[in-house]
Amino acid sequence: MKERAVQNSSRLALYHLWIAFGVFLPAVALGAWQMPMRSPLPAPLDDTNAYYTSVTLHGTAMAYAVTTFFAMGFGYAVTATSLGRPVRGIIAAWIGFVICLIGTVMAVVIVLIGRATVLYTFYPPLLASPWYYFGALLLIGGSMIWVVLMIYNMLIWKRDNPGQPVPLAMFAITATAILWAWAASGVIIELLFVLIPQALGITTRIDVGLGRTLFTVTLHAVVYFWLMPAYIAYYTLAPEAAGGRLYSDTAGRLTFIMLLVFSVPVGLHHVFQDPDIGAGFKFLQSFLTFFVALPTLLTVFSICASLEIAGRARGGRGLLGWLWALPWQEPMVLAVALSLVMLGLGGFGGFINMSYAMNQMVHNTTWVTAHFHLIWGGAVVTMYFAIAYEIWPRITGRPLRSKELARWQLWLWFAGMLIVTIPWHITGLMGMPRRVAAFDYSDPFVAPMGPLVIISAIGGLILLVSAILLIAILVRSHFGEGQLQAPLRYAIAVNPPRAIPASLNGFALWNAILLVLMVFAYGYPIGQFLFLKSSVPAYEVTHTATSGAGP
C-alpha cells in the first residue's frame, strides 16, 4: 500500500516533468525559427503575422507552461523524497495536473488559430479571445492546488515532527509555492477584473494602466518562481553530486526567505518607462530591487564554498586547485558551473536594468530580451536539465543514457545561449527594439546590426540541437534497460540543523513582512486607478468588421 503511494508520487512528478519538457522542445523550435525571421537571412514561412503568433506561443509556453509544470513536478518529487513519505493529497494533485493541462491546451490552440496574438504579457488594450484568458486562468489557477498542497505537506510534517527543522529542500519548495501564490495574485486579478470582463463584453473600456500595474506584480516574481527550483538544486543537489557538503543550511534558508520577501514588491521596475506610474514609486521599487540581488550574491558565495569543500576533499590543493578536482563528469556539477556563469552575465544585465534612470538606456531593446534569456533560458533551464538528469533515473529505475550525452547537451546549450544573447546585448545598446518582426537591413542605420543578428540566429540553431538532444536523452533513459535503486538524495550541511529558530522553519513572519512591503510599494500605484480616468477602448486582435460592430 505504501509502496504504491510512493510510486504514485513518482508518477505524479514524472508526468508533470514530461509535460514541461514536451512543451519545451516545440517552444525552442519556435524561438529558433524567429531568429532567422528577424535577421537578414532567408527564413521559411516568412510572414510577419506568423512571427507575432510565434512570439506569443513561445512566451506563453516557456513562461507559463514549461515553468509551472516543472515547478509542480519537481515540488512533488521534493516533497516525497525530502520528507521521506508519499505526497499527501495525491488526488487533488492529479486534479490540479488535469486542470493545468486543459488550460495549457486551450491557450495554445487559441494562439495557434490566431485569436490571441497578444504576447504572454497580454498587452492591453490588445484583446484576445476570452478562451485564451480562460486557458491562462486555468493553468495558473490549477497550479494553486499545488501551492496549497506544498504548504499542507510542510505543515502536517511539522505537526508530525514537532521541533524538527523542515528539510531545506522542502522549506525551499514551500517558499517557491508561497512566492508563486503572491506572484500569481497580480495576473489573476488582471484576468478576472480587467481582461476577461472586457473580452466577454461586460465592460466597454479597459484600464490599461491598471492592467499593466497588476501584471507587474506577477512579472518579476514569476521569474523568481522559475528560478527557485534551480536554487534548490544549487543548495541541496549540487553539493551531493560534487561529493561534498552544503556550507551552510542557514544561508540556504535565508536565501529562500529573501527571495520570497524581495521579489514581489519590485515589479514596477519592469515599467520604469510607463507614463502611468509616479517617479516616487519607481525609485522606491528600484531601491527594493537592489535587495533582490542580495540572496543571489549570498548564494554565489555559499555554493562556491560548498563546491570548495567537495574539491578539497577530492584532493584539490591551493587557492583554486579545488576547482579542477571537482567531478566535472557529473552533469549536475557541470550544470552548476555553466548556470552560475550565465547567472553572472544575466545578473549584470539585471543590475543595469534595475538602476532607476539607467533603465532608459536599454528599455524595450534587445538588451532586455538578452537579459531574461540568460537568466531563464540560461541559468535556470540549465539547472532544470540537470535536475531532470538526477530525477529521471531515480523515478524510472533506469540509468541515465548517458552522462556523456548529457554533458554535450549542457555545453551546447551554454554555447548556444551565449551566441544568442551576447549579440542581443550589443544590438540593444545600439537601439534595436525588441518585439519587432521585420527590420529593413538596407537602412544604413539598421545595416550594422545585420551581422550581429545573423550570429545570434546561428546560436538559435545550436539551442534547437541541444533541446532535441535533451529529449533524446530523456526518452532513452526512460525506455532504456538496466535496473537502478537509488533514491533522490540531498546534501547534508557542514553543520546539519538541529534546532533552529521558528522564523527559519516557517513563513508566518515573512508573509507578514511581505504584506507590509506590498501595501507600501503597490497600495498607491494600484489604488490610483480608482480615481484616474484612464480607461480606453480595447483592440481585439481579431476582428470581424461587419455590421458596424466596433471594438
Binding site: K282, S355, N364
Partner: protein, 177 residues
C-alpha cells in the same frame, strides 16, 4: 519518524568540527561587503539623479485617446515642434497604428526639449537610439520626456507596437540642428 533518523554514514554527524559561529561570521562578512557594494551603487544613482535631475519619464497625466484629433493639444495642426516663451521647445507627437505623427521633427541643439507623446490606440514604444530618450506611449496617458540634445544629427526613432501581429518598424526621424 525517529526510527528512520540514523546517520547515513553509520556514525554520528558531529556539528562541532567547524563551529557554526565561524560559518556565520564568514557569511556575515560576505553579506556586509555585498551590502556595501549595493550601497555604493545606490548612492551613485541617488547623487547623480539629484544633481542631474534624472528620472524615468513619469508624468501621470490622463487623456481620452478617442477624441485627440477633434481639437486640443494633440489636434493635427498642433503636432510637431513648438517654441515656448522661455526659449525651450515642446515636441508633440502621436503614436498610432502604425506610425508616429509627425514623421520628422526638428529641434535645436543645447535647448531644453520636452516631448509630449500620446497614443490613439494601443501601446507604443518611443526610443531614440544613442540617447536616453525612451518611453512607453500608453493610450489614456500623455508620456512626457524632458531632455536636451548636445550633438547635432539625425536621430532615428523606432516605432514599437508590441504584439500587434503586424509588421512594425516605421522610423520617424528627429533632426536636431
Amino acid at each position: 519518524m525517529a526510527d528512520s533518523i540514523t546517520n547515513p554514514l553509520g556514525r554520528p554527524v558531529s556539528d562541532g568540527i567547524i563551529p557554526e559561529e565561524e560559518i556565520s561570521r564568514t557569511e556575515n562578512q560576505w553579506l556586509t561587503v555585498m551590502l556595501s557594494m549595493l550601497g555604493v551603487m545606490m548612492a551613485i544613482i541617488v547623487v547623480t539623479g539629484a544633481t542631474q535631475a534624472l528620472h524615468p519619464p513619469s508624468n501621470v497625466e490622463t487623456i481620452d485617446p478617442t477624441t485627440l484629433h477633434l481639437g486640443g493639444e494633440f489636434a493635427e495642426s498642433n503636432l510637431g515642434t513648438a517654441a515656448e516663451p522661455d526659449g525651450s521647445v515642446t515636441v508633440r507627437m502621436i503614436g498610432e497604428q502604425y506610425s508616429f505623427v509627425p514623421q520628422c521633427v526638428q529641434v535645436p541643439v543645447d535647448t531644453p526639449v520636452k516631448f509630449r507623446i500620446t497614443s490613439t490606440d494601443v501601446i507604443h514604444g518611443f526610443l531614440l537610439p544613442a540617447t536616453n530618450v525612451n518611453t512607453m506611449v500608453v493610450p489614456g496617458f500623455v508620456a512626457e520626456v524632458r531632455t536636451a540634445f548636445s550633438r547635432p544629427g539625425i536621430y532615428e526613432s523606432w516605432h514599437v507596437g508590441p504584439g500587434q501581429s503586424r509588421a512594425e518598424g516605421a522610423i520617424p526621424q528627429l533632426e536636431s540642428s
